[in-house]
């Protein structure tokens, strides 16, 4: 790996995103709109509902969005021949992967920064722990989404197929992450399944930060990061310099 090349990839991905004004605007505005909608829903309810769900949503949104954005961008890179061109140049696979992860991690930081700021200051989200930890969880989560998106793009031939991986990989995790039923109350088999899904830990971490003044989230965070690293390694295996 070479920092010059890694940063060139990051810079390029960011320029591409900036050029696509509609996507950039949606990336920044949508999470805020969703948080506001959630807050509004619970206006006339006892105050617990918003806080519990907001924490989970702050974990889900960066994951889902970065999963989609990355799977489509890297699929484009595979089909347009630019990936093959890069791999025929002195570019390490790590440069490509980390370059992407940095770019989308940065976008996630901006995106979640705004969503968290809005939730905490305008929508009165109760955060017992340090607010910056919410951001850290969101960024690690976004990197996980990017890494998985990159990995699945290898199994899609068209953008339609790539988008279909979203419901396949993401919706089951949303159902099992404790958003609808606390994970402990799930049937034993599903509880065991939820134990090996990364989003469960991301949501757990977010909830701990909002509920405890001194949240013990490093274990959860470590697991999410480990899943992200594993997905990046799997992603690297799909970047082949030679093909049939």
């Amino acid at each position: 790996m070479n920092p010059r090349i890694t940063l060139a990839v990051t810079r390029r991905v960011l320029i591409q995103l900036r050029r696509d004004r509609r996507t950039s605007a949606m990336l920044v505005v949508l999470p805020c709109v969703i948080m506001t909608l959630l807050w509004w829903m619970f206006q006339d309810q006892p105050d617990f509902g918003f806080t519990a769900l907001a924490a989970a949503l702050l974990a889900l949104i960066p994951f889902i969005i970065m999963f989609l954005v990355t799977s489509v961008t890297t699929l484009r890179e595979r089909t347009s021949g630019t990936l093959e061109r890069l791999l025929a140049m002195p570019m390490g696979k790590g440069d490509f992967l980390v370059g992407y992860a940095l770019a989308f991690g940065l976008v996630a930081a901006v995106q979640s920064g705004l969503a968290v700021a809005l939730s905490v200051w305008a929508l009165d989200l109760d955060v017992a722990g340090p607010v910056w930890l919410l951001l850290v969880v969101a960024i690690v989560d976004a990197v996980l989404g990017s890494a998985l998106g990159l990995f699945v793009s290898a199994f899609a031939r068209t953008e339609f197929q790539a988008v279909q991986f979203m419901p396949a990989l993401v919706i089951p995790q949303i159902l099992l992450c404790g958003l609808f039923i606390p994970r402990e109350d799930l049937p034993p088999v599903l509880h065991a399944v939820s134990d090996v899904l990364p989003l469960s830990y991301a949501v757990d971490a977010m909830r701990k930060v909002t509920a405890h003044t001194d949240p013990a989230v490093w274990g959860d965070l470590f697991l999410v990061a480990a899943f992200a690293a594993a997905a990046l390694v799997l992603g690297a295996l799909t970047l082949r310099r030679q093909s049939d």
């Binding site: 060139a8 591409q16 696509d20 021949g81 025929a88 140049m89 002195p90």
Partner: protein
């Protein structure tokens, strides 16, 4: 000096033998043309030289190293048939990005924009350029690293005659500076512009000579007629 040496190369893709026992070399300081109908295996052969094609048997060596080895990556310029550039970046941003990946002097960006005659379009987004202009962006990217071997897969398709002439002059200029230039085409009238010709059909090289010698051997006036003559002889 041989830039590329190929011996006994076979490639089987999806059960079909695409390249059948090829042996030849590509010299430096020359423009070598690869001519043949589409579907005859030209692209597969070029991919094998660049090192992105998995080969079934035989060997492909570039400047003494196995094709695809890491040491060669900065010395080969490869232009695919479909332009591989980022449609949402400008001409300049595309070149600047690839220049950073290659680690070449940023000044090369200007030089290469000039070489492919895109100075007026440099601030335009690649997706908005015409097909010919986009393939020239792709060509400029391949020239960034001042490669010692340049592999061009049908680089002149859809270009106007003046530009085609200019590009061939560029190719010869690169060869004069010592590069090995390997160009494919399915347009037979481009054959005369090559120093040396390889005629390809159904995965085999059916002729390897200078254009003049080919015409003389077959007693024909045009490369197309020479090709037909060779096919007829091979079939009988």
């Amino acid at each position: 000096m041989a830039g590329v040496e190929i011996s006994g190369l076979r490639v089987v893709r999806g059960g079909t033998e695409v390249l059948r026992d090829l042996t030849f070399s590509v010299e430096t300081g020359q423009v070598t043309g690869l001519l043949g109908p589409s579907g005859c295996g030209k692209t597969t052969l070029m991919r094998a030289i660049v090192g992105v094609q998995r080969i079934t048997a035989g060997s492909v060596t570039v400047f003494g190293e196995r094709a695809g080895s890491a040491g060669l990556r900065s010395r080969i310029g490869y232009v695919t048939q479909a332009p591989s550039v980022y449609d949402d970046l400008t001409v300049e941003e595309n070149l600047a990005f690839f220049a950073a990946v290659l680690g070449v002097d940023p000044g090369r960006v200007d030089t290469c924009v000039r070489l492919v005659d895109l100075e007026a379009e440099r601030a335009k987004v690649a997706g908005r350029l015409s097909g010919g202009q986009r393939s020239r962006v792709s060509l400029a990217v391949a020239l960034l690293g001042e490669p010692a071997l340049i592999v061009l897969d049908e680089p002149t398709v859809g270009l106007d005659p003046v530009l085609r002439r200019d590009l061939w002059q560029t190719f010869h200029g690169l060869a004069d500076q010592g590069a090995a230039v390997f160009v494919s085409s399915h347009v037979m009238d481009e054959a005369n512009r090559c120093d040396r010709l390889l005629l390809m059909r159904e995965g085999r090289i059916i002729a390897d000579d200078t254009p003049a010698a080919l015409l003389e051997k077959t007693g024909t006036e045009e490369i197309e007629a020479a090709f037909l003559d060779l096919v007829a002889k091979a079939g009988s």
